[in-house]
Symmetry: C2
């Protein structure tokens, strides 16, 4: 992460409410250890290191090729070509990671905060509801409802640079494919964010400025749905029961008793929540953000949160703890408009779910969304994109592969295919092709079952 | 790719019309060199190799961490944690790549072809137009037009397993983010395919069965738009001029003179084309597919194509050459319904475009789609996901980074941000926040300019 120095385990690619271990180092090691050396020796060191890197990378790939059938070029000339590729890849990879961008200054940018003032997300907006209402009236071609359903925009994202752990990018890809499938089938738009809008709010805090930005740029959107990159839709049929939330502005998975009785730091999970596009939400974001700025502010706030919340380890302030703290300390101000949902898994903790998929397939069916067929399986603490993780990486990767294929089977069913096993990327035919394929569309198209459940227009 | 043995440079992740070099080995090295050893020694070899892999992988990461500031955990205990992660990652990575799936049989699956018969994509359908018409009449809630525009489904995809070249997955991620942005802004649905529907048609032929499958499963879709994973939308404003194609069923970028006068194997490019959902298209796919089956059929067909087409190197049959051959040898049957487009870059060869982005920004504006502001920039021959490439990998990666950011700037403009440079993943503010953000929406929302250009309904 070079200059922005935010530790890998504090990126959006991890869960909003990860369970940090004691190996956490608060914002330490900016620019890596090399950053402490004088420029000249730094360069020297860099080049020596890159040489070693290239060698090791090359050997690694060669061995992998021989071992797992990756390679197809057997000749020595091909090996030379391959070596060439490895060397160049390592170089460009290093360059991209190292932020060596001439136009990339460390001087404060426009809009950066003044460290003495309380942090704000932007100029205070007080009349958003009326501004938005006027705009909607003036722009009937952008209604806030689609087919009678409130317009939802799903926001997810990952760091702008390659993962420290290379396989992380592969699971980010599978995660977005899973979201594309769910959102296509349910008429939900997606914004995939790879930018840090505000360097002060790097890591898991980055969602706040982006949510605000989307509300102000997409007045036609009624709900912004934040979802972590390590959360997968595992019930492709399930639909958010929006009617239930008509009188609420924030919908988040959690347990009232854990929240109010125990003040637990995991009473709510910010890995997947819906926020209505309205003035109340802008106010909530303004009240939520001040603990976010990187460095001393975030570190000090972390101590307050650890002292106040049950079970919270000592580490810098995270967005989840900050929200729980806000809702507890200003209950009367906010809770009336907060819907704490636990009738279905808007967020579902992966442990205890991923090992039960076979049982679910045997006993139940998609569309339930709860423990019988979880709507969302969230890999809290796995952080496949980071160089740090709470859980055994092997267990995480296997479980994510299982969750992806469990969901993908529900999508492939329409096309007549399914995975050969929950751990297999390969698929098999589950029914024969016919000359009257539309019978299967009528039978298996998920959107038709939805349409049938709602009044025809 | 283990058992399916399709060489890396023949995957969909590469361009439909890549320019292979003489290092191509026709379908050789199935399952890697290890595949020739007896099972016992194979296992032995595998474990030894994995040990070496782990060591090298570990050293590589350690060095990388020290060099490019990836690492944030400085302590030796953290190093131990890190080593643990690397080891486990390499193990699971190897496992996922190695197809070692108990349920994964090599016995012929349902629907596999009979090697003696001519290959077919599925049971012959002859009355698709009437079947589809009846269905559309019976399902008014799924119209084939949206806001007066024909419904388009964009199909893209990548191999089911991690890339041989780890950074490849990062560029697949950026590529799908780019497609999500364009398709959200233009009301186009996306299907991201990670499955090989038909093991006979692996590699660049995989698009054929998937396109057919989507036509039969999505009767409400009027156009299926195939786009390679290494092609990026670089003009986010440009819209496909569908009205121009009312009398055509296949829209593909190319040059009639190269096609008919020179019989050039690059006269058309199958990296980005539109196919209408109709009987004609099903017939075309049936006529197009027979050269595709892996092994002797594809190899022999390659010789025919190389003999027939100008400039084609000797290698197995590819989908692009096969289409050109079909349209040339059966011109009267097909060409009447084929629109060879070159008024804008439905496919734009990256060389000669990526180095001119600064000039374009200076002189022109998005929405033109041609050489002044290319609609699509296609990284033919780069194959970032494969272990093989025609071009210097460094040049490819830098160029793809530039193309992605060039396009991303057009998306970020609405939000008031832009990249610090075409090679920088970091962004900067391009205008100050205001308390009346909707003025910017009216000014910068791409969709509004579209709406204004078409009659209000």
């Amino acid at each position: 992460m070079g200059q922005d120095g935010s530790p890998a385990h504090k990126r959006p690619s991890g869960s909003g409410g990860g369970l940090p271990t004691t190996t956490v180092t608060n914002g330490g090691g900016r620019g890596g250890r090399g950053g402490l050396l004088p420029r000249g020796r730094q360069m020297q060191k860099t080049f020596n290191n890159i040489k070693i890197t290239i060698l090791c990378g090359f050997v690694t790939i060669l061995v992998l090729r021989g071992t797992i059938g990756v390679g197809n070029l057997g000749s020595s000339s091909a090996d030379a070509v391959n070596q060439n590729i490895i060397e160049e890849t390592n170089r460009i990879l290093a360059e991209i990671r190292s932020d060596s961008d001439p136009t990339d200054l460390d001087e404060p940018q426009e809009g950066d905060m003044n460290p003495n003032a309380t942090y704000v997300l932007g100029p205070k907006i007080t009349d958003w509801d009326s501004q938005r209402k006027v705009w909607l009236n003036q722009n009937p071609e952008f209604p806030s409802t689609v087919n009678g359903k409130a317009r939802i925009l799903l926001l997810t994202g990952s760091p702008p640079k390659p993962c420290d752990n290379p396989i992380g990018d592969h699971y980010l890809l599978k995660s977005v494919k899973n979201k594309i499938d769910y959102c296509r089938l349910h008429g939900i738009e997606i914004v995939y964010n790879m930018a840090h809008l505000d360097k002060e709010l790097a890591g898991y805090w980055a969602k706040l400025p982006m949510i605000r930005r989307l509300m102000l740029s997409h007045p036609e959107v009624e709900w912004i749905w934040w979802m972590d990159s390590d959360a997968l839709f595992t019930d492709i049929l399930f639909q958010i029961p929006l009617a239930r939330y008509e009188k609420h502005n924030l919908v988040i998975h959690g347990y009232p008793d854990l929240l109010f009785d125990q003040k637990s730091w995991i009473a709510l999970n910010t890995g997947s929540f819906l926020l209505r596009n309205c003035q109340w939400s802008l106010d909530l974001l303004d009240a939520w953000a001040p603990m976010g700025p990187k460095g001393p502010i975030r570190d000090e706030a972390g101590k307050v949160l650890t002292a106040y919340l049950k079970g919270r380890p000592a580490f810098e302030a995270d967005d989840q703890s900050a929200l729980i703290y806000l809702l507890l300390s200003q209950k009367d101000t906010w809770m009336e408009k907060v819907f704490v949902e636990n009738q279905y898994y808007l967020h579902g903790f992966w442990e205890g779910l991923v090992d039960r998929y076979e049982e679910m397939i045997e006993k139940y069916h998609p569309g339930l969304g709860d423990e019988r067929w979880p709507f969302v399986t969230h890999f809290v603490g796995c952080k496949p994109c980071g160089s740090y993780a709470d859980y055994a990486v092997e267990r995480c990767l296997k479980s994510m592969e299982r969750a992806f294929n469990f969901a993908d089977n529900q999508v492939l069913k329409l096309y007549g295919f399914g995975h050969r096993g929950l751990l297999s990327p390969k698929i098999k035919r589950i029914r024969n092709e016919t000359v009257t394929p539309l019978e299967f569309v009528d039978k298996f198209d998920i959107r038709r079952t939805q349409v049938e459940t709602k009044p025809q227009n």
